[in-house]
Symmetry: C2
Subunit: 482 residues, 2 copies
Amino acid sequence: MLKISDTLSEKKREFKPIEDGIVKIYVCGPTVYDLTHVGHARTYIAFDIIVRYLKYKGYRVKYVVNITDVEDKIIKKARELGISPFEVARMYEEDFFRVVEELNLLRADVYPRVTEHIKDIISVVGRLIDLGYAYVIDGDVYFRVRKFKDYGKLSKQKFEYMLAGARIEVDKRKEDPRDFALWKASKKDEPSWPSPWGPGRPGWHIECTVMALKHLGEQIDIHGGGADLIFPHHENEIAQSEAYTGKRPFSRFWLHTGLLTIGREKMSKSLYNIVPVVEFLKKHSADVLRFMVAQAHYRSQIDFSYEKIEELERALSRIYGTLERLRVTSMLRRVEEYKKDLEEEFLSKLKTMKKEFMDAMDDDFNTPGALSKIFEFIDYYERIVEKKEDSYIRSEHLRLAYYTMVELLREILGFKLEYEKLSRTTVQLLGILLEVREKLREKKMWSLSDAIRAELRKIGIEVRDTGYGPVWFYRPRLKAQR
Amino acid sequence: MLKISDTLSEKKREFKPIEDGIVKIYVCGPTVYDLTHVGHARTYIAFDIIVRYLKYKGYRVKYVVNITDVEDKIIKKARELGISPFEVARMYEEDFFRVVEELNLLRADVYPRVTEHIKDIISVVGRLIDLGYAYVIDGDVYFRVRKFKDYGKLSKQKFEYMLAGARIEVDKRKEDPRDFALWKASKKDEPSWPSPWGPGRPGWHIECTVMALKHLGEQIDIHGGGADLIFPHHENEIAQSEAYTGKRPFSRFWLHTGLLTIGREKMSKSLYNIVPVVEFLKKHSADVLRFMVAQAHYRSQIDFSYEKIEELERALSRIYGTLERLRVTSMLRRVEEYKKDLEEEFLSKLKTMKKEFMDAMDDDFNTPGALSKIFEFIDYYERIVEKKEDSYIRSEHLRLAYYTMVELLREILGFKLEYEKLSRTTVQLLGILLEVREKLREKKMWSLSDAIRAELRKIGIEVRDTGYGPVWFYRPRLKAQR
């Protein structure tokens, strides 16, 4: 049974979608005014895993991610660069989709753009005015917060705090300082569209209400985004949507990903420490970024550092090496001798790994818990290998372990699993080399035998001398280690 | 300038197609009554290389291969198996297309089936009767050989010999013993179609005339087939086609592949020594079969034996190993030191190889000559490697050599080039192993250093000790050696 924690109710509750078998999920996407950075990637990867797991469980997932392609920051960037806001948007939207591709993110069903929904936005704003939830001043339209009595229910903010949160927008003309813009009268040299209130453009919050309505319906199952969007963005989205439809809740579950900090600071443009994904991928892999995300619960904060990335690369290499060892061992085996007890134990450990992995995922998408189950199985498998007992497990069972791990890692967690495969020739060469090394050890030629081990380590082969003889483990080099 | 030898004129002549830039080629395809054997494969592969070369030279090639799906042998086989002739045809047609796929044969533009051209055949036969080139007896239609005054021009057969060739068909009703059936009145339990001369089915020869006419036009550039088809099949085809159109020549060039013998006997069903392609491919590769074909001129006889196949596998492995060595060396190089003189020599040898390869192909598709140019380059390259001089050729030039060889071998000769690739780890392991072996040789530990060499040989690595130190050559194992 899947349980999900919800920011609104502050409870972990059993997940049941509105329509049987279908999950409607809306995740706030990019404002396309700069390169996608690893902070954004954290949110997208976290929701990618959530969507993958829901699909794995058999749900038909309707997945919408909006693209904010007209907004203050885009207009500002366009002025800086001396190009049009539309060119800015197109340029960074391309970067976003490159990131979607390179980070192996499942594509959403729709990526609605604000500029392609202006008519829908005007219609929703008009209706909010008709219902008394909005008012017009000099071509601007504001949401009347006082009329929506539950305002603040998501962020649980005190009235004073909300004022502080809204401080940038202080405007004497507004009825209440918390009131926020649904429609903004156009200033000079800004993109604008005609409306009943004069030429203008949408406020930031209204688009998500409109796109969720249009592409998913009046009520949805899951609404997601970064924790920094809880207030004011998601608070305002609830107010707009529930005021418009008269139905509540707008979303059954509100999921928020924790912040990504660098040296404990929130990664944002103003701190001059952003790491664009395209830059990150020049030296590191998409899998290690995903691993960093999956190693934390989606609601937890992650502190980003290159030391942590390197540490994660070593752990990731251990996963890859285990997969490769399972694959080639099952492929190269000739004799089909086996030990029944050992096979039973192996299959039972494998089954336990899968079950506990699923249990962890069912518990509010506990990816660190799920990953720990994979590592427990790797620990067990390496103990068997050290005793050279893996040669007493039949190929079909080694293959089953390989495919089970690949299923969990690729299908649910979304890893690309790209690494240098071991060839038959490599494994055979390794066999020759380890035999030669044993001969040297018999003759007490320690310096040469140690040199062999040191050279092997450099190329990603770890040799352990056990009571059962030398044993190799593959540790494929990742991009950064090249 | 491409020169092609022609069975009809018995001359090697410059090739010029009828229409500029377009080559119309018709090759006699299978009678689908049994598994495709290596004798058939020899013909198909030879013409595949010819078509590939014509395409490489920039011609648009219109390539037709017919499928004889109603014929005496099919009817006989159907009686033996107790199924319908159509089922027999369908079954062996499937085998034929599997062979096309597995032997990497370029697909023809059309594979016309006889049973789908009955109306066209009836119309051509009717016209031949109208023209006085054919006559009807009891529902059979015969071609009137005496009326076609050039009869025998292709096969240069003496009249008496032709009688012997036609001995099976001796029939007192015929005007001339050489006359052959265009249409056969149906016997009991035979497939038949209605016709102006009563129910019947086409004779074997007429289909090729009709299909060439329909799919390529009244005159074609190249007509191909096995040498066993020269008489009577192709002789009859010329008589029918030229009688029908009044135009000559029916085909500008007649190309015939030599026979494939096993222990010097023609491979045919009656000799009980056929080797079906599907059987051959269980133990050997498509590439080695193609290599056997390309090692002989298309007009030469080939004697098939497994000893020869094994010998060819060793030579093929040397080609593969050279490609892999070029590929990985160019990939793994770090330092870009180089020797100018050496590079110039290397590039000049490469250029010579390509030019002489093309010259050989231009000389009546002389594939053995073309292959010998590849081996001359391999000899040269191995001499460089033995002196460890390949490390003084820049990656881009090693890569150029790799891609040039791949172009000639894959694009023109049609090799699949499937073999175990060398990985970076393999090459690095090999480096460690050879260094250890050198240390052992310094300490005069001969038995261990010899054992290393012997073990390496078993897994497809040949080590040569040269004046410049030990050098490895890769000899990937082929299917048969597994």
